[in-house]
């Protein structure tokens, strides 16, 4: 063995010698996403991890992630993954088994105060109405030639809930996981840009100035019964949603019951942060050049945007109807908060309301539809899982 052969061997095993143009393009896209996450602060907690996962899995010869392990029609051989897989393969087990989205939902539940929704139960209708985009995007995806499973996964982007989109897609269309996750999280970050024009187009100036009555106070008993009852009722109607909704409500129960403060603290901070790192790296790593650089990715990005727009419009239209029925007691701007991006969508309602009437405080009123949107999108995902899973 001489120095020449060692150098030659080093060159052949280097990423430069093995590089494929698609991988280089993906590394470029990963750098753009890192820029958007770090400089523009687009959902940085998720996007930075996703972009970095994308970056390392596209380094030629790194062997961190093997798409072929996860697309075997005969099923995933977990023993093989553990023995031969790379680091990201091991982390990806948590995505494939649905562990990460469920734990993230537990954290979301522990951070969410359902009080505004309990105080104004009617606002739950808006959380349902804002799932319109899910089914509109599903229809459009079918028209564009996607299969039922793929269309269902694309449609759920309209639920504006990243973990829910990942939970459904890893089961129905795992090969589309990366573009769907990137679209879902990017549009969630862009809600302050996407929603206001639609809100202004659908509502009148007078409607936007409507001031709503102060919400009643919600007792601790109500807050404790709520997660238990929602789990029982919803999971009896739609058992497929048990893992997502059950974890969401468990997190909320830990928060509200008053005897598990330490657990609530761990779930909404340490555990959630750890899982967010694993989830984002794993999801980003699935964006390999062969499946990401395709026409379908552009279609998914476009359909995702339409899904968000339809969901926003659905919530607003129903809120307008409720405004008419209640003779002007409901400001229609809270309807757009029915998409489940918590609390960004509620903040947008508040900002638009304050622009129309500076003494208007809609935030707590908008939190009702906002948190019911989380339940609504989970139910929508559970239904699609029951049909196509």
């Amino acid at each position: 063995m001489n120095v020449g052969s060692i150098l030659s061997n080093l060159w052949e095993t280097s990423g430069f010698a093995q590089a494929d143009p698609k991988q280089l393009i993906m590394i470029g896209i990963a750098c753009v996403l890192l820029y958007l996450g770090i400089v523009k602060k687009f959902e940085p907690l998720l996007l930075v991890g996703i972009a970095f996962g994308m970056l390392i899995s596209n380094i030629p010869g790194s062997g961190l992630y093997h798409a072929e392990y996860w697309t075997n029609p005969a099923g995933v051989d977990y023993g093989h993954v553990v023995n031969k897989g790379g680091l990201v393969d091991i982390l990806y087990i948590g995505v494939k088994t649905g562990l990460y989205p469920s734990i993230i939902f537990m954290g979301v539940g522990a951070m969410t105060d359902f009080g505004p929704m309990i105080a104004n139960a009617k606002s739950m209708i808006l959380g349902a109405a804002a799932q319109l985009g899910v089914y509109m995007a599903f229809m459009l995806a079918i028209i564009l030639g996607f299969s039922g499973n793929e269309a269902a996964s694309i449609g759920i982007i309209g639920g504006a809930d990243g973990p829910t989109a990942i939970w459904l897609t890893k089961e129905l269309a795992p090969h589309l996981l990366a573009p769907i996750a990137v679209a879902a999280y990017s549009y969630m970050a862009l809600i302050p840009l996407i929603q206001p024009p639609i809100m202004r187009a659908i509502t009148s100036k007078e409607e936007r100035t409507i001031k709503m009555d102060q919400l009643r106070s919600v007792s601790k008993t109500e807050k404790i019964i709520f997660p238990i009852a929602v789990t029982i009722i919803t999971c009896l109607i739609l058992p497929s949603v048990a893992s997502l909704l059950g974890c969401l409500m468990l997190g909320n129960l830990l928060r509200e019951c008053g005897v598990t403060d330490r657990l609530s603290d761990v779930v909404q901070n340490a555990l959630m942060n750890i899982v967010t790192i694993f989830l984002s790296i794993s999801v980003g790593a699935t964006a390999i050049g062969e499946n990401f650089l395709a026409l379908d990715t552009i279609k998914i990005i476009a359909l995702g945007l339409l899904a968000f727009c339809f969901s926003t419009a659905g919530g607003l239209v129903f809120a307008k109807i409720m405004c008419k029925v209640t003779r002007g007691k409901i400001n229609p701007l809270i309807g757009s908060a029915g998409v489940s991006a918590v609390p960004m969508a509620a903040r947008v309602s508040q900002m638009e309301g304050a622009k129309a009437n500076p003494s208007n405080f809609l935030l707590m009123h908008a939190m009702g539809p906002n948190v019911s949107g989380v339940i609504g999108s989970a139910v929508a995902a559970g239904f699609l899982m029951a049909v196509f899973g």
Binding site: E68, K122, A128, M139, H175, D213, F226, V379
Partner: protein, 147 residues
């Protein structure tokens, strides 16, 4: 195209392209959805989301009413009080400066009577001096629910 007729596939032998092709082959074998079926599924799905949330809404309403002793929906205490015609509050009269002037943090007018007030925080007790007379004040947070 990889041979998928065998039951056991050695995934290590498959390249990324082949495995992705496998996914495509598997998916193309799925029954394709027509627009009418997709419309039906969409309608049903939207209906189920509405049904679940309406059932939850009904439950929450009933639960709240039961816990609140049958009252349909009460507003916060301040709002629910019967509105009495507000008494005309006299404009603060010019009160001659009390003897403690200069020692007070603020002047508080109560129904036109002006008081010199200063507050000193001595945790957990406050000392409030009104018109030169000191009072010990304990402040306790109102509990959210004592039902």
């Amino acid at each position: 195209m990889p041979d998928i007729s065998n039951e056991v596939l050695d995934v290590e032998e498959l390249s990324v392209e082949e495995s992705l092709e496998l996914v495509t082959v598997t998916e193309s074998s799925e029954e394709e959805l027509g627009i009418t079926e997709a419309l039906g599924i969409s309608g049903l799905g939207f209906g189920i989301v509405f049904t679940v949330l309406v059932v939850l809404m009904a439950f929450i309403t009933v639960m709240s009413m039961a816990l609140r002793g049958g009252k349909k929906e009460s507003k916060p205490a301040v709002k629910s009080e019967p509105k009495a015609a507000p008494k005309a509050v006299e404009a603060p009269k010019a009160v001659e400066a009390p003897a403690v002037k200069g020692d007070a943090d603020m002047y508080v007018s109560l129904n036109g009577v002006r008081h010199a007030v200063s507050v000193e925080e001595k945790v957990p007790r406050f000392t409030v001096t009104v018109n030169g007379k000191s009072h010990g004040v304990d402040v306790e947070e109102a509990k959210e629910d004592e039902e």
